[in-house]
């Protein structure tokens, strides 16, 4: 099994969960700070900022997701449409209830805050405050009355006695602090119930100015850490005339502890209520702000979760779509990340198993294909190296394959006919019509067949041995046809040559022996009977005897010719200058009305040959040419030698052309067989002997009629020794007897 690819979402979930937790915590702090909790009050601004920043981050993330989704949707990415639908459904499902909750929360918030405030409560608190003030007002009046009398004790008191007087007065009046101020508010004397206090609570300038104008001041005054007190300030006239000095007495009286506690309580609650009443609008707005931010957090989180969930849900589906596309494109190695332990995960796992098995199957198929290809190449190599031509036809006789030897034997390029009907060959190559006409019906036969086909073309007669069979598949149905054919022209020719050789040998042996006794007997008959018969019988005897002797002589010549043909003496290879030999032989044929044109290649090398046999060969060819031109006035023979450049001069070509009547149709393809002649005289062994000599030298000979006139015989002899060219022999000569 291959390695499993897993998809990790932790990289996305963890930061997001962290962000949401931070935002929730900050909302908790914000909520508490709104309610004026002291511990979070200082963080209020920061919490607002953090929450707004968090919301902006969420908006950014949603924007990025939205942009990606829209891009994927427009690009037609697999799964994007379903993702859009899921996102829309998720968003609608989350936005609707949250919006409803938000609406009703707003209603409750408005009503809830408003319910804190009631006109009756406000009125009650104001009444309580006034009640407290009235209650304290009575106390103030009492103190004014009490201090009005006490102040007289300070009139005209010297600064040195003022301290004692104030201390006495402090004890008598129950004040907590008394101070006597002189000109410019200079402290003349000070007395306090708290011995640690050395500086009096000073009245403000307004009060002092008011008192200096001849009035007095009484009022409530909150003192730090000790609660509400009553402050009394009196003017104390001192001295007379120019020494008149207006002194000021400041007195601070406590109020009853119980009244003080109640008054403080009323003051506190009145202040709180009034402050709350004042802050009602801001409070609502703050709650609204917090609630709105919580709503936005919920909404944005829900939208983000919708994106995240849809993408996570669709990821395996998208992977599957991409995987399927990859498989369709031929990528069988595609492995998808495992989507978890659910139905989609099972589906993905199944897909992975499928691609893995397809991949294995493809590997096996490739191996099989390679083996098949290897076998095919091997078979092609075998077919290519066969000496037989092999072609295959399908059941409709369309050509499927052919090996190179088939091209060579039939003289065409089968590649041009692959996939075409076999009849096309016959149409394009007329000489092959017979071949097609035979193999077509033969291929219809269910059994193996064998035919000998003789083809005629410009190249000559060609004998093919064809064998064919129909391939049968495993189901027994017949299908393609295989046709194997060999060019057995040479073999047939060899068989004929061997047969003729045997005939010649037997003729020489069986016929030549009786001929001499026959000739001698005939001559003896003439000699013995010539004088015993009359003249008329003698003439008949002489004529008959002469006829017998002549015919025996003719038979002897024929038998000698056959003897020459059948005799296969070991050739004596010697260096031979072919051009020189040709020149010598052609010189012998100088005769009237014969023009021999020699065009001899000066590059022709010295060849290893039997000079005597070559001389016989040339004689036979020239005689044959002359006989072919019998009855023609201006006889002409072209003799030409040529070094075969294309073969690196490994062959020497000798061509003898006459301008006679050419070979007849009767001997077409049998030029070099004994007795293949249309001439009235001669043994018919001339060209047969030529061929024999050529083959003894390892060469080859061909003969053909020329389109315009005459025939040409071409001989190729191998250059056995790699000798250099003979520089003196190249020449062109015209041999003609002008006598």
């Amino acid at each position: 099994m291959g390695t499993q690819v897993t998809r990790s979402w932790a990289g996305v979930i963890s930061p997001m969960a962290g962000l949401l937790l931070i935002l929730l915590a900050s909302f908790y702090v914000l909520s508490n700070a709104t309610e004026n909790a002291a511990r979070f009050s200082n963080l209020y601004g920061w919490m607002l900022l953090i929450n707004l920043a968090g919301l902006l981050i969420l908006v950014g993330m949603i924007g990025v997701n939205l942009y990606k989704l829209v891009s994927q949707y427009r690009a037609g990415v697999a799964g994007s449409r379903l993702t859009v639908r899921l996102v829309v459904v998720f968003v609608v499902l989350s936005v609707l209830p949250v919006s409803i909750v938000y609406y009703f929360s707003l209603q409750f918030l408005q009503r809830g805050v408003d319910s804190w405030f009631d006109v009756r409560i406000e009125r009650s608190l104001e009444d309580a405050l006034q009640l407290s003030q009235v209650s304290l007002d009575l106390r103030q009046r009492e103190l004014v009355k009490q201090m009005s009398g006490a102040v007289r004790a300070l009139v005209d008191v010297s600064e040195s006695n003022a301290g004692l007087t104030l201390s006495d007065m402090l004890e008598r009046t129950g004040a907590v602090e008394l101070s006597l101020l002189g000109k410019n508010n200079r402290i003349i004397a000070f007395s306090s119930a708290d011995a640690s206090k050395v500086v009096p609570h000073r009245s403000n300038e307004d009060v002092l100015m008011q008192v200096r104008q001849g009035s007095y001041y009484v009022g409530l005054e909150p003192v730090k850490d000790t609660g509400i007190h009553v402050r009394l300030v009196f003017s104390v006239p001192t001295g007379s005339g120019a020494n008149t000095e207006q002194r000021i007495l400041q007195a601070l009286f406590p109020i009853d502890q119980r009244i003080s506690t109640l008054a403080d309580s009323v003051q506190e609650y009145f202040t709180v209520y009034k402050k709350l009443n004042y802050l009602r609008g801001q409070l609502k707005n703050s709650f609204l702000l917090t609630l709105s931010m919580v709503l936005l957090l919920s909404l944005f989180s829900a939208v983000w979760v919708a994106f995240f969930s849809a993408q996570r849900l669709m990821a395996p589906v998208r992977d599957l779509a991409e995987g399927t596309q990859a498989v369709a494109d031929g990528n069988y190695d595609k492995q998808l990340p495992v989507a978890g332990n659910n139905e989609l995960g099972f589906l993905v796992q199944s897909f992975n198993d499928m691609t893995r098995r397809i991949g294995q199957a493809r590997s096996q198929a490739q191996e099989s294909e390679q083996q098949v290809e290897s076998q095919r190449a091997y078979l092609e190599a075998i077919l290519g190296n066969l000496s037989s031509g092999v072609i295959t036809l399908d059941h409709e006789l369309f050509i499927r394959t052919a090996n190179p030897v088939a091209d060579k034997i039939l003289g065409l390029d089968f590649q041009d006919y692959i996939g075409r009907p076999v009849d096309d060959i016959a149409q394009a190559h007329g000489p092959l019509k017979r071949f097609v006409d035979i193999i077509k019906p033969a291929s219809e036969r269910p059994e193996q067949w064998q035919e000998e086909i003789i083809l005629f073309s410009q190249a000559g007669r060609k004998v093919l041995m064809c064998r064919g069979t129909t391939l049968v598949d495993e189901a027994g149905a017949s299908g393609d046809h295989v046709i194997v054919f060999d060019d057995i022209t040479t073999l047939v020719q060899a068989q004929r040559d061997a047969a003729w050789g045997e005939v010649a040998r037997r003729l020489a042996h069986e016929i030549k022996n009786p001929l001499t006794p026959i000739q001698l007997s005939a001559e003896r008959l003439q000699f013995k009977l010539q004088n015993r018969v009359n003249d008329e019988d003698g003439k008949i005897l002489s004529r008959s005897t002469e006829t017998i002797v002549n015919q025996v002589e003719a038979m002897k010549e024929m038998v000698n010719a056959f003897t020459d043909y059948a005799r296969a003496p070991a050739i004596d290879l010697q260096p031979v200058d072919l051009n020189k030999l040709i020149y010598e032989i052609t010189e012998m044929y100088k005769m009237p009305a014969l023009y021999i044109h020699c065009q001899l290649d000066n590059r022709t090398p010295i060849i290893q040959a039997d000079g005597t046999r070559l001389r016989q060969l040339l004689h036979n060819l020239l005689k044959n040419a002359l006989e072919a031109m019998s009855g023609i006035e201006n006889r002409k023979i072209d003799v030409m030698t040529r070094c075969m450049d294309e073969s690196g001069c490994r062959f020497v070509e000798l061509t003898i052309r006459d301008y006679g009547h050419g070979f007849s149709e009767q001997v077409m393809g049998h030029y070099f067989e004994p007795y293949m002649t249309t001439k009235s005289k001669g043994t018919g062994l001339g060209l047969a002997i030529v061929k024999k000599i050529v083959e003894e030298h390892g060469g080859m000979v061909t003969a053909e009629n020329l389109p315009d006139q005459g025939a040409v015989i071409t001989i190729r002899l191998p250059v056995v020794t790699a000798k250099t060219e003979n520089p003196v022999r190249g020449q062109s000569a015209d041999i003609k007897d002008n006598s």
Binding site: T34, W46, L49, E205, P222, I228, N277, Y278, N285
Partner: protein, 191 residues
Amino acid sequence: MHKTTGLAAVGILFLALLAGNSSLLPAASDAGLKVYSASTVMKGDTYFMDAQLGYNLSQAALDALDSGVPLTFELEVDIYTPRKWLWNKTLLRSSHRYQVVYHALSQQYIVTNINSGIQNNYSRRNTALLSMGRINDVPLVEQKALPESDAVMVRLRVSLLIDALPSPMRPWAYINSDWLLASEWFKWELK
């Protein structure tokens, strides 16, 4: 504390700008805080500061004060050496806070110097604000703490501390010019 609240204020201001809040426009009234005059006097080895401040509060601030909301003001004093190519080198930074609150039962405005704890009561609001604006004999720095050669400057600013307001008021105070009360820096040469 002041820095953090300032940052938070900037953030909220930015968000308010995003929201297109029109309350950031200057208020129609000429409310504001101002440093009319300030000077230093050396007594012994110590420099003392006298200053005259003007607390011209907006109607919103006055309403809040009369409704029992305490208002806290901060005097920031920087003693620094001015530099031509670099920012000024601060030698000393001090802060003095004053709070004014209305006491309904006694119908007094209580002004408290938070640094010293000294509390004064005034029956009239204007008197309380005027009293709060009179700064006398506030010790700043000893002479030996100052560099001998360089010129030394003092700057003074007074502002309303929004962070000292009740929480529900703050979001709107951060973005409302009625509450964004602060004077310009008042600078003078110390020596």
